[in-house]
Amino acid sequence: MSRVATAILAFLVCAPLPAQWLHYPTPGVPRTKEGKANLSVPAPKTIDGKPDLSGIWASADNKYLQNLAADGIQVPFQPWAEKLYKERSENLGKGRPSEHCLTHGVTDFDALGINWKLVQTPGVIAMLYEAYNHYRQIFLDGRPLPKPTQPAYLGYSVGKWESDTLVVDTTGFNDRGWLDDGGHPQTESLHVTERFRRRDFGHMDLQLIIDDPKAYTKPWGPTLHLNFQPDDEIMESICENEKDVPHMVGK
């Protein structure tokens, strides 16, 4: 990534200043004798015996936000998708939805190293994102995925438990979102599978499977690592007073 693109990215994602109320102790967090959060104890369970994924999380490494294939995955592009990806890269990411304060989708929210909160109930999970102050719902009540009729940035998500792994299927995406900031394309045929496994109190593995036969010849995706953020909160981060677009001149 060029220095200009890095600078622009840093400029666009200016994190809000820390505030004192952020550091209220998170209730229910196991602690050491010194009062520090003990993040290596087993993951908590809900009353119905399922893993409780609730809490504030952030991707451990922001490199996946820039490129979901950062670990050296050979992305199985369809030719047109590869051409578009190259154009976006060479043009320093011009046209990225965030340039116009438009939201991330599922995969780039997952890869984002900014806090988000997971609120779990038996029938639905809400993900509250600090970025853009948007949310996403995952229905756990056994409903089927609907026939997609209204393409959307965040699609429609249903989840089910496979042993201790929450498997979430999402379809109903639009073709306007970018899978990551680098610009891996998506089409309306995109189907994302996320496999969430909370390894212990402080760590969650998230395997992403990107299945979009119009853009890729076979499914692909990284496994992300999420860190629990104790004694922290999500802030209201609104993309306002936007001054960047005129400076996004591309190559």
């Binding site: 809000p16 200043l17 505030a19 004192q20 109320w21 209220y24 209730p27 009353i47 609730s54 116009h100 304060c101 438009l102 939201t103 609120v119 779990q120 109930t121 029938g123 639905v124 809400a126 509250l128 102050n133 948007h134 949310y135 719902q137 229905f139 009540d141 409903r143 609907p146 026939k147 009729t149 209204q150 959307a152 940035y153 965040l154 699609g155 429609y156 306007r176 999500i234 802030m235 209201e236 609104i238 306002e240």
Partner: protein, 265 residues
């Protein structure tokens, strides 16, 4: 005013009705399948009323003979003090500000710019809200701009100096079956309605949430903002349960075409 209303309607084109309807679980129904909305409100595991559900505003505006418009807002959406006999107890500057905002045809209304709206307008905008109640936290998901608000019920104190924000910082405690929510830490100048009534950064808002039965949520708002009003004022903004439906993914900035048409007289 007609032009003003027209702009408002264009700016907020409501999303199409979803084909995502799915039967809401756990609703008591009569023999013919009709939901019993007057049944008692459900209770959470801790015995407190459970406000969870998808809610629409209670409509208090008559529809014209030709039928209701798509974006069918209650009276308070355009005039938050509509139900007050003597109107809002303005400080003079706050009255003047609302007049000038109206005169400018809402050019600077955050709603017109896809920016967040305040917690009172979030209760009057005719787009659904969904409450998710878990121990320690009440989350309100707003269809408007796919946004959310957190209300902490874990006993934490109000921070001494909250960072000013659109939704403020909310803590709550139970008074029998009423959840009393205190919010402060607002940005200065938030719009309360489309005519431009305002609150300042000194505002404290108290909400009393009650669910008298399954189908109804009553929310009493008291606004105490000595900078903008000569005394506190109280209104009720009620919500009606919506079954077999859910929120849509509504991203206001997507394909936004209105701003360039905002022509001020």
């Amino acid at each position: 005013m007609t032009k003003n209303v027209l702009i408002a309607l264009i700016a907020i084109s409501a999303p199409l009705a979803a084909q995502w309807s799915y039967p809401t679980a756990g609703i008591p129904r009569a023999a013919d399948g009709k939901p019993k909305l007057s049944a008692p409100a459900p209770r959470a595991a801790d015995g407190k009323p459970d406000f969870s559900g998808t809610w629409d505003v209670e409509h208090n505006k008559a529809c014209p003979p030709e039928g209701c418009i798509d974006f069918y807002a209650p009276q308070e959406f355009s005039n938050i003090g509509w139900g007050l006999k003597d109107g809002l107890p303005f400080q003079p500057w706050a009255r003047d500000l609302a007049k000038s905002r109206s005169a400018a045809l809402r050019k600077d209304d955050p709603l017109s710019h896809c920016l967040p709206i305040g917690i009172l307008e979030l209760q009057t905008i005719p787009m659904f809200r969904k409450i998710i109640q878990v121990p320690g936290l009440l989350v309100i998901l707003n269809e408007y701009n796919a946004s959310y608000r957190q209300i902490f019920t874990d006993g934490r104190p109000m921070p001494a100096d909250p960072q000013p924000s659109w939704t403020g910082y909310s803590t709550a405690k139970w008074d029998r079956d009423t959840l009393v929510v205190e919010t402060s830490g607002f940005r200065d100048g938030i719009w309360l309605d489309t005519r431009g009534d305002t609150i300042t950064d000194a505002a404290k808002v108290t909400e009393k949430f009650r669910r008298p039965n399954l189908g109804r949520l009553e929310v009493e708002f008291t606004v105490d903002d000595p900078k903008a009003y000569t005394k506190p004022w109280t209104i009720k903004l009620n919500q009606i349960l919506q079954l077999d439906t859910d929120l849509l993914d509504y991203i206001c900035l997507e394909n936004e075409k209105d701003l360039s048409h905002f022509v001020v007289k």
